[in-house]
């Protein structure tokens, strides 16, 4: 039995386009234990969603996993057949999508959509599946679940639809739940409800969660470990406290410094990272961040750094992809605010 539930090793995902192949995810590696929550953070286009879609094998006909392996319970998801994958998808690994408005089918009732997966994976009769669906809807806090079963998605609010999505994703007791920006389309008070719900689920079912978001606030709240992605690569990986207290990569620092806090001085200026994320057709040589990095050196322009463990790290789980040495990293901390507890 493998120690990890999910082991992604040097994943490379490419998309075939008319202009040749575009590498959207490169050398992404991480591990996830049962019951653990990992947060993947980054800006749009950094490859965080593609990473999760690669795990689910939902890349469409143009996307392929070119290199690397995805071990789920020791089984390589990149090698198994589509029908084997179908048994896992929605059953052992399930996913919550960003847009609750578009991820439910508008022409089927909630009940119909809920029961489809349940009947397929759990081999229940129609009656039992209906009863189980109502139970699931109830457990995610949907009022009047019997009535909601016969409603169409359009009559539910955004928060309710996301709850339905979560109920659907959890109905087969998955070991891994992938949540791709689960709260981005929702209001703050509804977001708090959904995050609370996900936390309860985690404690109740010991589900491993992979949460993908651009909101550092959400990962600070939810995740045990965090992976920061930039332009298709992992630039930093650490446990959540280490990452926020002692970020090493200039990009992570910039990202943390650029969020306007609610408990932070109004006179302080926000740290902003100049420029924008480079496009995949036009990736800079060397370190991919060098075009926006204020500490870029000669070496950064030519050689690509590897993801290496941070020296003198006690827990030995902090990795960073940067040429800056340990001393320099410590000396240059412009965007690093004091974190007060």
């Amino acid at each position: 039995m493998a120690k990890y539930l999910l082991e992604v090793d040097k994943l490379q995902t490419v998309f075939k386009t008319g202009k040749g192949e575009v590498t959207s995810v490169e050398e992404v590696s991480f591990q996830l234990k049962p019951g653990q929550t990992i947060g993947i953070v980054g800006e749009s286009g950094c490859g965080k969603s593609v990473t999760s879609l690669s795990i689910m094998r939902l890349l469409g006909k143009h996307g392929i996993v070119k290199k690397g392996s995805i071990l789920f319970n020791g089984l390589d998801l990149t090698k198994i057949s589509e029908s084997e994958m179908r048994n896992i998808r929605g059953n052992e690994i399930s996913m919550i999508f960003q847009e609750p408005m578009t991820s439910l089918n508008p022409v089927f009732t909630i009940g119909n959509q809920m029961m489809e997966g349940i009947r397929l994976h759990m081999k229940l009769s129609k009656k039992e599946a209906r009863k189980y669906s109502i139970e699931m809807l109830n457990s995610v806090g949907i009022p009047r679940p019997e009535a909601i079963m016969d409603e169409f998605p359009h009559s539910l609010s955004g928060g309710m639809r996301q709850r339905v999505m979560i109920a659907m994703a959890l109905s087969c007791n998955p070991k891994l739940l992938i949540a791709d920006e689960p709260t981005t389309a929702l209001d703050v008070t509804i977001q708090a409800q959904i995050l609370e719900l996900m936390k309860n689920i985690r404690t109740k079912f010991n589900t491993a969660i992979m949460i993908i978001t651009h909101d550092l606030g959400v990962v600070a709240e939810m995740a045990d470990r965090i992976i920061v992605m930039y332009a298709g690569q992992v630039v930093e990986e650490a446990n959540v406290f280490t990452l926020f207290d002692n970020p090493k990569h200039p990009y992570t620092k910039g990202l943390i410094g650029s969020i306007p806090h609610i408990d932070y001085d109004a006179e302080e200026r926000l740290v902003s990272i100049p420029g924008a994320v480079p496009s995949f057709q036009n990736m800079p040589t060397g370190c991919r961040f060098h075009t926006r990095c204020e500490f870029a050196m000669e070496r950064c322009l030519q050689q690509q750094p590897d993801l290496i463990p941070v020296p003198n790290d006690e827990l030995d789980d902090h990795k960073v992809r940067c040429w800056l040495g340990e001393e320099e990293l410590a000396a240059t901390q412009p965007g690093n605010r004091e974190v007060t507890v």
């Binding site: 709240e221 926020f244 650029s258 969020i259 306007p260 109004a266 926000l270 740290v271 902003s272 924008a276």
Partner: protein
């Protein structure tokens, strides 16, 4: 004529509000059937009043559907209010004819939320930016090009970009163009309607910093609409919290964040995920349920259906906004 008289009034009354909104209501009819009979109204904004003083930034926060964008659109006269007055520099905007209004519009500008749909894709940046100048005849035609170049510099875009089309720009750059377009007429008040919520985190910071710098440089007054509390706090001097078409609390930014008096404001603050893992186990107020529909708002205090401290009085009586510096519309404000 009117413009001149308006300018005089500003000089004579230094600290009087630049904009006063009085009992603003914006109701949209709900129609049904082939005869389009009106069967009800969506009360998007339901009687709000506030002042904005010259040079300050008033933040307007609330969840989607609370009427914050509608308020912004009513102020720049994109929509005619159902009821109420919008007084800009001492003059009621409803009294102006559309011809006179055109002149006022140079002083009242808006930056839209979505930089992808608010720029005409068929126009070059140079044309987009010179259009308002030519329309309002603010500068001589031969000066237009220089002015456009200057404004691009102000918002931090290279001059060479004038010949490009909007699709050639990233979200952050487009929002800079949106800001440039609002700024080119030398407005006094800019309504910023969620200018950063469609942008990536690192780009948000660039745009927020830019807005803050521009405010200092050109003595602008902002009405900053947003749902990201962090951004609103960063830029605002005062904050008004809206819920279902009403302002429930309005106070200095510090007071709202340190000492929120309305249960809704305090829930909103507590629900905001703080990017600090050490605070993750802090007690949170998680509101139950959804925002009720503005077509059929609850009786009494509109928040009573979700309020954790609800009492029988809240269901019957509508609370009014009370207090001078820190106003709150609640029967039992938090201390």
């Amino acid at each position: 004529m009117i413009l001149e008289s308006l300018k005089e009034t500003t000089i004579s009354t230094e600290s009087s509000p630049i904009l006063q909104v009085r009992n603003l209501k914006q109701h949209y009819p709900i129609t049904k059937g082939i005869l389009s009979r009106t069967v009800g109204h969506v009360k998007a904004v339901d009687g709000i009043s506030f002042d904005i003083f010259p040079g300050e930034t008033l933040g307007l926060v609330g969840e989607s559907g609370c009427g914050k964008s509608t308020t912004g659109r009513a102020i720049v006269q994109l929509e005619k209010p159902t009821e109420g007055e919008i007084i800009f520099e001492g003059k009621n905007l409803a009294d102006f004819s559309s011809r006179e209004m055109r002149k006022i519009r140079t002083d009242l500008q808006i930056i839209f939320q979505d930089p992808y749909s608010s720029l005409n894709p068929r126009k070059r940046i140079g044309d987009l930016l010179s259009e308002p100048l030519l329309f309002h005849k603010l500068v001589e035609p031969f000066e237009v090009k220089k002015k456009v170049d200057d404004i691009l510099e102000v918002v931090g875009l290279p001059r060479a970009y004038v010949g490009r089309y909007p699709h050639e720009f990233s979200g952050g750059q487009r929002q800079r163009i949106g800001i440039a377009r609002a700024l080119i007429l030398n407005p006094k008040l800019i309504v910023c309607d969620e200018p950063v919520s469609a942008l990536d985190v690192s780009i948000q910071a660039q745009v927020l910093n830019l807005l803050k710098d521009l405010q200092k440089e050109f003595q602008l007054t902002f009405l900053f609409i947003g749902h990201g509390l962090g951004a609103v706090k960063y830029i605002s001097d005062r904050i008004a919290v809206m819920y279902l078409g009403n302002i429930v609390e309005i106070a200095k930014t510090e007071d709202i964040f340190k000492n929120p008096k309305h249960p809704y404001s305090s829930a909103l603050l507590s629900a905001y995920p703080v990017p600090n893992p050490h605070l993750r186990n802090k007690e949170k107020i998680v509101l139950q349920g959804d925002v009720p529909s503005p077509a059929n708002p609850p009786s009494g205090c509109k928040f009573h259906t979700r309020c954790p401290f609800v009492q029988s009085k809240c269901r019957e009586e509508v609370p009014v906004l009370k207090g001078i510096d820190h106003s709150v519309a609640c029967h039992f404000p938090l201390s």
